[in-house]
């Protein structure tokens, strides 16, 4: 049956008109829409933070225990037994300073890669920018990061380290960690919708990545130009940046940092485009 199209119908000028149709090719990142939904992002972050340690006995202590215990194990195995060099810094401090941003990335990526699948009900029933889900999960990790960082400052106090003016660079290195985490999370969460392999691959990926990042060892074991090339792992730039800014190791921001930043940014931008491309099918596949 053909509907009668009434061409006399007018559209009120003041109303936004949106067209829903099949999208072709690479879609726009729709950042404006994301901005309009910034309050949703805020509420999702706030929800994740509120809910994260509900019904746990240790609560926020988990944020501190994870890197702390890893640090103790690393200190025993790599510091004592294997005698790994630590750029002239006490080994526990050396590894903990790297573990703080590392745990932020590892937990963020692990949880965010599952975020869309866990919220499949919402994705199937409500329209909202889906990017907010992995983003919120990553951002909620900032609280854990802050707690772990506080412990780092305490450890520095115990070992008699005072932060220098370099510490002002810290937010930039954190930003680098954040961009890396967002980029990888956005990629993986979108892939996870279609390929449930991601859920099994992520813990393995994180483990491999941990040892590819100069956490248990310094990047100074590599000579140039290999060190610069090492920056392809953005976390190498982050970790060495943290050590330089807080502990004063001889790893100031340099070519490696620039490579890391470029890779992180590329991950994020490509991730957003990939996500947008896959997004239209999420509700159908979940």
């Amino acid at each position: 049956m053909l509907a009668v199209i009434d061409t006399t119908l007018a559209v009120r000028d003041n109303l936004p008109r949106t067209r829903r149709q099949a999208s072709k090719g690479w879609p726009s990142p729709k950042l404006r829409e994301l901005w309009l939904y910034r309050e949703l992002l805020y509420f999702l972050v706030w929800r994740d933070i509120k809910v994260r340690y509900r019904q746990t006995v240790l609560g926020g202590l988990w944020a501190i225990l994870q890197p702390l215990i890893t640090m103790v194990i690393f200190s025993l195995v790599f510091g004592r037994l294997a005698q790994v060099p630590s750029d002239g810094v006490p080994y526990p401090l050396f590894s903990y300073a790297a573990l703080v941003p590392w745990m932020f990335l590892a937990n963020g990526v692990t949880q965010a890669s599952n975020s869309l699948v866990l919220s499949s009900n919402m994705v199937k029933k409500i329209y909202f920018p889906r990017l907010t889900l992995p983003m919120a999960t990553v951002l909620a990790g900032v609280i854990d990061f802050a707690l772990a960082l506080t412990v780092l400052l305490l450890l520095m106090l115990i070992y008699g380290f005072t932060p220098t003016i370099n510490a002002l660079w810290l937010p930039l290195f954190f930003l680098l960690a954040l961009v890396t985490s967002l980029g990888v999370s956005i990629w993986l969460s979108a892939m996870n919708v279609q390929f449930r392999d991601v859920r099994y691959a992520v813990p393995f990926l994180i483990q491999v990545w941990l040892f590819l990042t100069p956490i248990a060892y310094p990047s100074s074991v590599l000579a140039e130009p290999w060190r610069t090339l090492y920056g392809i792992n953005p976390m190498a730039g982050v970790v060495e940046g943290f050590r330089w800014a807080l502990l004063g190791t001889d790893t100031p921001p340099g070519p490696m940092t620039i490579v890391s930043a470029a890779v992180a940014l590329a991950l994020l931008v490509s991730g957003v485009f990939y996500f947008r491309r896959m997004e239209k099918g999420f509700a159908d596949v979940l």
């Binding site: 949106t18 509900r54 919402m122 329209y127």
Partner: protein, 422 residues
């Protein structure tokens, strides 16, 4: 009011069944496919076949060639059987999923209530969930703040506002969720079967609210199985069947067309029907309604009736539920095999059949529809709307003649004690 609110032109949505929709690809499959596809394609070319065509897996058009316009301020009811494409249409309009062809233009802010309460977090309090759910539905924080009192009062949960919703009763839960959603103020509201929540009093309140929404000149598109409700709320009705607009006119016209097809369904072979829900491991393969004195399907008020439901497989703990609805979709009675009575028996010689016997049918004369649900392995296995349509003829209940006035459905055995004049 001749402003356009929604314009749908030749809208279509294709789903892959077995191919892309429900199957989660493994990366290895994809890789293997990537490597072998060029060879397969080359092989087909050599054999002189067109590329692409043979590659397509089974697909189904949930919607096809749907076109209509809705003016701003119109309240439209959308009806159709399961799988007719109602929910798909709402999903396309709200932007949850993209159409395969055609387009839909939406003028103004759109709010959709496709399922009340998705997005609620059980660990958060009522107040916290109100903000969260509001934000998910697209409300601004300031807007929610302004309406908080109103929302809470409407939901009648003031005392429990700061209690985690996991401690709420299911009634309180849906009341709050509906209340938040009802205070959304978009120009266009899409509502899918959400009024079936809460108790009668709250339902009436929701209806009132929906009526207000319509009065304010906002556009509402309703989906419900409760035809009586739609008739009360909507002036216009669109009847969808197998993904296409089958009737578009006044609500009464749409309902008439719908009821007609509902009766045609009965003659169709049950196993041929695709409009079912559930896991599908166990299927309902046949229903038979008799009056126990013969195979005649003419039932009478006050007389015995027998319902037989055959399934294609048996598992431990299999249960059969069936529900009787009147012609306008109002629920009348439900029967559940799990709710046992000492009178129930097990008959190993009965094959794969559930038999439910009624000694005195308490339905008034008229036409009724029977929906059947089969539950096994703790999951809904099969659900069929209108698995049978029954006709109840005039009869007597304990000697009392049953009269139908077209409004009521149930007739109870009863006894009067009358005063005597003089």
């Amino acid at each position: 009011m001749s402003d356009l609110a929604i314009e749908v032109v030749n809208l279509g949505k294709e789903y892959h069944i077995g191919g892309g929709q429900n199957k989660y690809y493994r990366l290895t499959d994809q890789l293997a496919d990537t490597f072998t596809a060029p060879f397969r394609r080359a092989g087909r070319l050599l054999r002189g076949q067109a590329t692409g065509a043979a590659d397509l897996d089974a697909t189904i058009w949930a919607l096809k060639g749907v076109s209509f316009q809705i003016r701003s301020g119109e309240v439209v009811g959308l009806i159709g059987r399961n799988g007719a494409g109602k929910s798909t249409l709402l999903k396309l309009l709200s932007g949850i999923t993209d159409p395969t062809e055609g387009y839909a233009d939406i003028c103004g802010r759109i709010g959709s209530l496709l399922e009340v309460g998705t997005g609620f977090h059980p660990e958060l309090t009522g107040r916290e969930n109100t903000y969260l759910y509001g934000a998910i539905l697209g409300m601004q924080k300031a807007e929610i703040q302004r309406k908080l009192d109103e929302i809470v009062a409407f939901a009648e949960i003031d005392r429990f506002l700061d209690t985690p919703v996991k401690h709420y009763s299911s009634g309180m839960y849906v009341r709050l969720a509906f209340s938040v959603a009802a205070h959304l103020e978009p120009e266009i509201l899409l509502v899918d079967e959400v009024l079936a929540v809460g108790d009668m009093a709250f339902q009436r309140k929701c209806l009132g609210k929906m009526d207000d929404v319509a009065q304010e000149g906002r556009t509402v598109l309703f989906v419900s199985h409760n035809i009586g409700l739609l008739q009360a709320l909507c002036e216009r009705g669109i009847f969808l069947q197998q993904g296409a607009v089958c009737a578009d006119g006044t609500m009464t016209e749409a309902v008439d067309a719908y009821l007609q097809t509902l009766e045609q369904v009965q003659s169709q072979d049950l196993s041929q029907r695709a409009d079912r829900k559930g896991q599908g491991q166990i299927r309902l393969v046949g229903t038979e309604v008799t009056n126990r004195s013969g195979p005649s399907s003419v039932l009478k008020t006050g007389h015995p009736a027998q319902f037989v439901f055959a399934v294609n497989d048996l598992v431990p703990d299999l249960a059969c539920n069936f529900f009787i609805y009147d012609t306008i979709g109002q629920p009348v009675a439900s029967f559940k095999s799990k709710a046992q009575s000492p009178e129930d028996t097990v008959d190993p010689d009965n094959g794969q059949k559930f038999v439910c016997e009624i000694d005195e049918l308490m339905l008034l004369p008229g036409r009724y529809r029977i929906d059947v649900a089969i539950i096994g392995n703790n999951r809904l296995q099969d659900f069929l709307e209108a698995a049978a349509v029954i006709e109840v003829g005039d009869g007597q209940l304990r000697g009392r003649p049953a009269q139908s006035d077209g409004k009521f459905s149930v007739f109870m055995p009863h006894r009067w004690t009358l005063p005597k004049a003089g």
